[in-house]
Structure formats: C-alpha cells, structure tokens
Subunit: 341 residues, 4 copies
C-alpha cells in the first residue's frame, strides 16, 4: 500500500535447511533466520529461486513462510514468494501470507511455457487487481517468461498494489529503462536487483536495493557493500564489490544452482542438508572441491577456517594451466583407450 | 516392464476442458476422451504440456488421469504425465497412477532451473530405480532441461523400467542419434516424437510413434498419416504431412501455447472453456481471427464448417502484403500521433 | 535461367588445399576436383562455408573457382559462392563467374550484422534483379542472418534468376514450409539441404539434393545415399544415413569447423595443408586423436586404413566413462594443486 | 608499447559518408573528422562496427584510415580497426596503419565461424606476437566469437603489444571479471566499453573509457558524461546517463544497425549518404519516422531543430497504446481480407 514504506535495502533469499529425511528442518531454519537478522540484512525473502520454491509442495511453501515470519517476529520485513500453479492458487497463497503479516509478496513471471508479452501482462494484471497484499513483480528471464519494460510501466500505472520489481537479469541498462519508465508515475515503486555481481553500480543508477543470494552466506559483506555505496564511499565500495563478485561467481557458477550456496552455508556453521534434487556421483566430488575453494575465499574475509590442505596463493591456480594438464591427460587416456581395445 | 508391449503409435496429449468456474469439466472430459478413442488414437497422454499440467494442483492432476482412465476403460493405453515438485512427490504420483492401471508414466525433465547433464541423470536415475510403473523420459528442451544422448543411453542401460523417450525437440538427427545409441542395447525401448510437423520423416528414420497435439483436434488426420507412413504409401503420406504441417503451424504459432489448440477444439464441437492463464484483450481479439483461420483449414478437410464470412482462396492472404499494409498504417498513425501532440 | 536444368543432386563444398606457405595449392586442388568428379558427385560448390570463403581475399576466391572450373571442364556443374563485401562487389564477382561458365552462384545471407527480415529481402532483391547469372540463396542461420519463408517466397516470385535455396539449418519442417510456399509458384525452384545428417528424410519430403561437406570426404557414401533414397530403397538408405550421421557428427562436432573435415581429407590421400586460422597447441593434440577416430570410422567403410594403434570395438569407448575418469583426475589435480601451493 | 600512454577516454566509431555513387565521400569524411575533434572526443575509431568495416573492400578500409589520420593530423589518437580475411592480411594492414602513425589497431574476434576458446586464443596470439603496432582486442559477442576472460588474461600476460580490450557486450560483471584478472599483471592494460548505455557505471567500476557510437552523433553529451563521471559529479552524471540511454536506444533499436546513427547524423548537418546495404521500402518509411523521433530527442538537448510537425510531450506516445490501435487495425484488415476473398 502507498502508506507502507518502500521496499529498500538487502533482502535475503534463503536456502531452506532440510533434515535427514528431506523434510523442512524447522529448528535450523529458525536459527538461520535469526542469524541473518542479527547480521544486518534488511529483510527476508523466502520461496525465491535460491529457496528452491518449485521443489516444495504448496503446503510446504506456506509452512516455510510461517516459520520464518514467526521467528522474525517483526524485526525485519518479509517478502514472500507466492507463485502457485495458477492465479486462483496464487491469490489464495497471497491471502495466507497477508494474514501472517508479511510486508509483501513476490510473484515470479509464469514459467515452463514461454508466454508472450500480453499474456504476462494479463497474468499480473489479474493478480494485481485482486491481491489482498502488496506485490512485487519478479523478473528472471533465464528461468521464466520475461517481464518487459512496457508491461512494468503499465502494471505500475494500473495496479497500486504492485509496488516494485525484483529483476534478476543483471542487465544494468534494462534496470535504467525500467526506472526511467516508471519512477515519474510511481515514485513509491521499488527497484530491486537480484544480481549480486552488480549491486554497487545498480545502486548508483538508482536501484533501491536487492535480493541477494550472497547475503544468505556472507550477510556482513553484502550489507556493508550496500551501506558503503549508499554513503558514497565509492573506493571502498568498489573494492568490496570486486570481492563479492568473486564470492558470487564461485557460488553461482561452480555447481547446479543453488548447490554452491548450500555448500557455502555449511562453512558458516549451518546444516542445510541435501537438496531434494538428487546429485550424481561426479557432482558430489565437485562439491567437495568447491567447498574447499569457498572455504579459502571465506577465510580471506575472516568468515571461515581455511581447509586443512591449505589454500592456493592469492590469484589462485591458473585455470588455463589446469585445462592444459587435463587435455593432455585426456589425450593420453584416449590414446590408451584406443590401443587397449 | 519388458513383458508389456512397446509403446507405439499416436498418443494424444489432451486439453483439459474447464467449466465456467475454471474447474475440471468432468462430463466434457469424458465425452472428449471417448471421442478421441472412437477416432482411432492409439493412446492417451494426459498431463502433458498441451494438458497444461503446471496449471493444475497435484490433486487435480491425479483426478484428470483417474477420470480419463475410467472413461477409457482399457480401450487404449494411457501414458500419464507424472512430474511433481520433487522425486518423492513424483514417485507418490507414480504409485497412484500404477494403481489406476495406466500403461506408463511420462516424466518431463526438471524445469525452471536449468540443470546440468549429471543432475538430469541423477534425477531420472533415482526415479527409474524406484518407480513402480514403466517410465518414459520426456525431453522438451524449449521448456525444460535437455536430456542428452549419453544420459538417455545410460538410463536405458541401467533402468529396465525406463522404457522409452518422448522427444519434442523436432530435431531429426537428434532422434537418430538416440536411436543409434540405445536400440542396440534396448530393442524394446520406444522412441516417440512430440513434433507433429515431422511425424512422417521421424517414422521413416525409425521412430515408434509420437504424442501429437494435432491428434487432439484432428485425430483422423494424424492417425491416417501414421498408417500411410507405416504402410509405405509415401506419396499419400507426404501430401498429408504437408497438410498436417499447415494445421500444426496454425495452431502452435498463432497464439500462446496451447491456446491455438483450445480454439481449434471448439470447432470440433467441444467446450474447452477458458484457460487458467488469463488472456489480455488483444489476445482475445487475435483468438477470434485464429479461430476463423482454423475453421477454414478444418473446412478444407471436411472437419468443420467454414466461418460465416467465408475463407480466402487456397494459399491464403500473403502475409507480406498484410505486413506492408500494416506498416504504412502504423506510419500514418505515428505521423498523426506526433502532429496531434 | 528457366531454360537451364534444375539444380539437383549432391554438390560438394570443397576444402581448399593450401601449400606450406599458406597459398592455394593449385595442383592439389586440381587433383582433388577430379577425384571428386570421378567418385560421382553431381556438382561442385567452391567458396562455401567448408571452403572457408571468408579466409581468402576477393582475388583468391575468384582464382579458386577459375581453377576448379578449368579442371572440371564441364564434366559437372559448378555452384560458386559469390558473396563479397557489398552488392556492387558481389555483382562484379557474379559477372566474373558467369564468364567462367559456372552453372549458378550461391549468395550467403548478410553476416556479421544481424539483419532484419526486410533488410535481407532488400539485399537479395537488388542482387536478384541485377545478376547476370542464376542465383541460389544460401541460408545458414547459425552463421548469417536468417532468410525467412516469406522472403524466400517473395524473392522466388519476383526474381526469375533466383533459382533455388541452399538451407543449412537442418530444420526439416522449415524445409517443408519453404517447399509448400514456393513450389506452387515456381516449380523449377531448387531446394538443397546443407545438413548431411538429414539427407534421406530431406529428400523424402521433397528436397532436390544438397551441398554436403561429407561428400568432400566420402563422396562414395553421400552419393550412394542419394541414389538409394531416390530409388525408394528405404531400408538400405536408412542404414546408410545412420552411417553418414556418425561420420558427419565425428567431423563436424569434434573440432572447430571445418578442421574435422580437413583432418579426414588427409585420410583419403590428400594434403589439405594447415588452416589459415591458427591452431592452439591443445587443438593440435585434439586433432591427432580425431584423426585416429576418423580413420577407424573410414576403415569400417573400407575407405581408409585403421590407425596403427588399432580401433575400439564397434560402439566405441563410452564417453560417459571417459568423463568420469577425467573428472576424478581433475579432482586429484586440483586437490594436489591446493595442497602444494 | 609500454612507453605510450594508455588508451583512455571516449573514442568515436565513425560512420563513413558515401557519395551518390556509393563511394567514400572524402570531403565529408574530413569535415566530419574535424567536427568530432572540435567537439572534444578523445580519439577516433575508424573501421569499427559502426563504420561498417565489413561492407568496404580491403583497399577502402585502408583509405578511410589514411584520410582520417591525415585530417586529424595528430590532434587526437586513432584506434584503427584492422581485421582482414586472415592473419597474414591482418598483419599487412597493421603495418600499413603503423606507417600512418595511428596509435593502435583494434582487432575484432574472428566472425562468421563461431570459434572455440583455444582457436580465439591462437588467432590473437599469432597477431599479438607479430604485430608492428599496439593492438586492442575487440570483443563483440553478438556479432563475433566471444573472447573469454582466461583468454584476455593469457594474451595480456604473453603479448606486451596487446594493450587493451574493447568490450561491446554491455555486461558489467564481465568487465569487472576482466579487470580483476588482468589489471594486477598489466596495470597499463586499457579497458574500453563499447556499450554507451552503461558508460557511467562502467567507468565507476574501473573502465578507462570507451568507443561510443553516440559520440559520433552527440559528442558533446558523451564527452560530458565521461567528464562528469570522472570528476565524481555523480548526480549530474546519472542524469546525463539516462539521457544518453534514451538517445542510444532510439538510435540502436529503431532500425538495422547502424541506420539509426546514420539518420541521426543528418540531423547534425552531415550527408552520410545511403548505406551500401540496400533498404527495403518499409525500412525507408520507418527511417523517416525515426528521424522525426530523433530530431525531437536532439531538439530537447538543443542539438537539432524539432521536426516541422512538432514533437509529442515529454514521455512520448505510449507504445502500448499504439500497439493496441495497430492490433485492432490488423484485425479489421484481416477480417475484410477473409470476407473479400
């Protein structure tokens, strides 16, 4: 609602800890929730992509938000992912979340089917007209139908309960186009970026904050980057943005999303458990290596112990060198493979 | 199971008729099911992409299959889409469908997240090892994580209950690569194409059949194309394939999928109702035009009445000409727009 | 010209042999040209993508065609790639090729810039209206701006000297759409596929032939596949198509195009020399392995000697197995890498 | 060379004016060159993508640089696009440009063929080792093979004469990854962005400048944006960046590149002539409209006269509204089309 304060700052899209049977680990989720709040995140964002919302049942999604809202106890606002199978189910989830007292819901654009621009508009228009709670649009074109700038503008114009957009494209000019199109007609509209790698420049062109998966692992850093940028301490901010980029890249590109974030979370003392998406043997081996690399990165920031085997010197192993070694090994294996057979 | 006959022929991925409140219209779904069987489709494929499985709740997905299985009464085999939020939920759905006596289930590759090849393997491996019912892999790379050829081969080798693949990529050499990789080790494995536009050539390179959305609208034609091709009557088959291509293109490219198929279904005397995905005003206008075009195409085949306004001569309006007219109109509008303001 | 016979059959897009200084090796090019003709290809296609036309100067492109036309001496028709920097230069090349007596030229769609559909039309329209020689359009959307179906139809309708299209998309329904749109108004128009992996099914839906890079290496097989398909011996054709697919995949996906074809050519007794595109050390190692694999495939067909080290049994090494070995090696290297540093 | 100053600031990729016969209009090119220098651009960048280098002959490309170097007379440094058909031709062009006294050359990654990462490395390595003049890499992944971060690092490490990269991806985190990988080992290496839409944030994360097509049309604005950002006047810079974004979008997305820039250039009093890429009738109509829109945008900045018909109020016509009007017009046309025929 126009009367509520704008969405602003760093919202954390959290991993959901699971127990050994694959069920929601409520005590660990509560402990994690409070830990995040204690480390200064401005808000919480359950049922996001990092939160693997598609891998839970509708009942579980509700329960995750209920637990976190209860644990947060109003200390920080909650932005709850509320997308369900269709508009009716989504609106029913919105009602439930409204009763829990969350600040707003985030609705991802329709996925699986790639919808046309008018269809994306129609979907959000129906939700925006009937929602009992403030809504943020969630644009993540690598996973879901894109929400284009004219649609954002039209929805902002027609639906007062649509109060912001979370954009995970990482495309800076696109963010500027949205701001240019919407801010003149809706000064209260929030622009949140979901791409940690560009948080500082996004803030500098006018973003209000973001939902950042790194803040679920290193809330101290993401929050500090936000504060430094807002304070105009650009040299310090730039340095920290480069550090966060390194952490972000290590977590997001090393493994199937969000396994890198889950692996990093264990280094901060949590037990996220195993994903519901099964892992192949080679993925498990990879994740051990990734955990060591992440431990080294976190150790540099004083946020974790270095792995027992130690860390490579700063700058790390040259990936090109590794590739060259691997190629010759592969060549040798293939050569032997042919001759043996 | 190895003892059951291979999956072969034309399976129909059906639209689910909805009533005025947006609920499953059971009588219409039953009438439609029997109509399809009467017109010769070899099997039914509920909860496919055409069936908008993502827009129903888990309970509704079960109910759709239950209704259709009951109505079919064993007249044709059923391949039921069984993908749920995670492996546990999917296996639970498999058990339910097994009890209903369906022939097999189809499991779409994980979607929303784009998974790596090992992750896709791990997902199907866990299902393939624990399923109580035969499983077909469902590859639809435009909507879900791709299932690559090495994964198909490895799963076919390791999981006897994985008995086939439904591939909707429409990529003919890709189909050949799968056949070349799998058939030598699993002669019982079924290769089904989901791309109606290439049914004849797909059969000629070794496919066993397909799941074809056109067969939900013009079952007479899709079935006849299958029969002619299998019988080696290639000249007749080719001619029919070109006709089916025209129908397929008109239904699949004219509107957000599967609205073109829903519109066409009304022309065959069914009441599919409105989609759960809301339609924008411009989409509704478009759909009226599309319905007229489809009526003309179906009328040519003697399967529907021509629209009241009549049909364009064969070959139709030149789309280039329309585009040129539109461009000059747009130009004029823009010109007036500038001068008026 | 309408009076000339249609383009039909297998046209060979040839590699250009280079000598040790990187210049055109005229004697080897002549020997190769005659070898191809002797092995039954229906025509020659210099300056295609396989012929690396972009890596030669305008003068060299002319010289390549002049040498081959002279060597062919009218034994088979020549389709000469004639795209130059702009329309004026392209028309000048067309005049030159016309004087050489080649059958027609092939003009690739504009590349580097991705042009809109009207721009692609305008480009070919200007050439089509002013060319002194028959022109075939060359659609290769993975490298150049796509030529869409309405443009093909409009150009076929308006430009009598545009006599065909060579399409390397490998998209079978797309080929059918072009045939459906153009054949009724231009029965003389030729449809050639550039995607060897689908030659048989392409011919079965109505293609007239193709330009096939495999025919530059195994002309015996590509020609025989064409003959068997045209003769309706589908079982034999299918078997051969699967063999050709294996060869095609090995040559096209193993290395940067067209290095796989160049490597294979050495196995047929030619000295293609080194590419003008420099090779990295790892590429050179890879190419040795690829040559061995290709030698094994060609040996199976009696077209080359098996490599000294022998060949793996049919079906070959499981790539999954190799990947698993490599992964553990990489893991080990990384592990040592971390601890050593 | 290490002794020369770093490349820094705004380099202008210029359109090449053509006369009525389509030949290089030398007087206009000279006038344009001096006009740009007078308006404060830091350098000139002939034979870039905006300069349509692929549409000129090798001789013409040399002549363009010769004319501009002569006209510039050392007032500003020149970065000359030097990519030719292959390494030998490229090196020969480099020698020519070195003799002309240009500051450095820019070499676009290999295009047409999509090369692998090792092949891209090998290409630049050979050039970097043998060039007689400083080289900047030119990464433009939408048109040419991408130059990845490990390749940039390796080339920077091994080739002292490679002194910078011009990156037109517009991907801000990618730019940061390059800076993080290269600056520690090559503090003299220049990072130039080719994406005007993000100039300010690119500078704020550490870029040295850019090659900006907008600076060929509104050099005053692009230069001022650079100065304000460097001076840390971020509020003014942000405001100007939003204006430049609007101009950039209008020029780059309105027509086939670089027609929007050519149209805008006429508004600054130049006669760029017609492109060598022919225009379809509908493109010509579109360009008239675009010219009016651009005139309005330039008039706002006091850089051109408003069109005779006047300009829409700020914010402009709602494109959604236009779309809705057009849709109903199209619908009506189609309806009449069907009934008439």
């Amino acid at each position: 609602m126009a009367n509520l304060p704008c969405l602003r700052g760093v919202f954390t899209p959290n991993i959901v800890p699971l127990d050994s049977r694959g069920d929601i680990d409520e005590p660990e989720l509560r402990r994690y929730t409070s830990w995040l709040i204690d480390r200064g995140v401005h808000g919480l964002y359950p049922n996001g992509s990092t939160g693997e919302f598609t891998r839970f049942t509708p009942e579980e999604r509700r329960r995750i938000v209920a637990i976190m809202a209860d644990e947060a106890g109003g200390r920080v606002p909650i932005l709850a992912g509320a997308a369900e199978a269709n508009v009716r189910e989504t609106l029913s989830a919105c009602e439930y979340y409204a009763e829990l007292g969350v600040r707003a819901v985030a609705i991802v654009a329709p996925f699986y089917y790639k919808l046309s621009s008018p269809a994306v508009y129609a979907y959000f228009k129906e939700i925006g007209d009937r929602t009992p709670i403030d809504v943020t649009l969630y644009n993540i074109p690598m996973f879901a139908s894109p929400i284009d700038v004219p649609n954002v503008r039209r929805l902002a114009e027609e639906c007062p309960r649509i109060v912001g957009i979370k954009d995970s494209s990482g495309d800076l000019p696109h963010m500027m186009r949205m701001i240019a199109a919407v801010r003149p007609i809706r000064p209260d509209f929030s622009f949140l970026t979901g791409w940690d790698a560009a948080l500082m420049p996004m803030l500098l062109v006018g973003c209000d904050g973001g939902t950042h998966a790194t803040s679920g692992v290193v809330p101290e850093i993401t929050r500090k980057l936000y504060d430094l940028t807002i304070a105009g301490q650009l040299d310090e901010a730039r340095e920290l943005q480069f550090k966060l980029l390194r952490l972000f890249d290590a977590m997001i590109y090393s493994a199937d999303f969000p396994e890198g974030f889950r692996a990093a979370l264990t280094l901060r003392g949590f037990r996220p458990g195993l994903s519901r998406q099964p892992l192949a043997a080679e993925q498990k081996i990879d994740l051990e290596l990734i955990r060591d690399q992440l431990a080294c990165l976190l150790a540099e920031e004083g946020l974790a112990d270095a792995p027992g085997a130690g860390c490579p010197p700063l700058g790390g192993v040259d990936p090109g060198q590794i590739n060259r070694i691997v190629r010759s090994v592969v060549a040798e294996i293939r050569r032997q493979g042919s001759s043996v057979n």
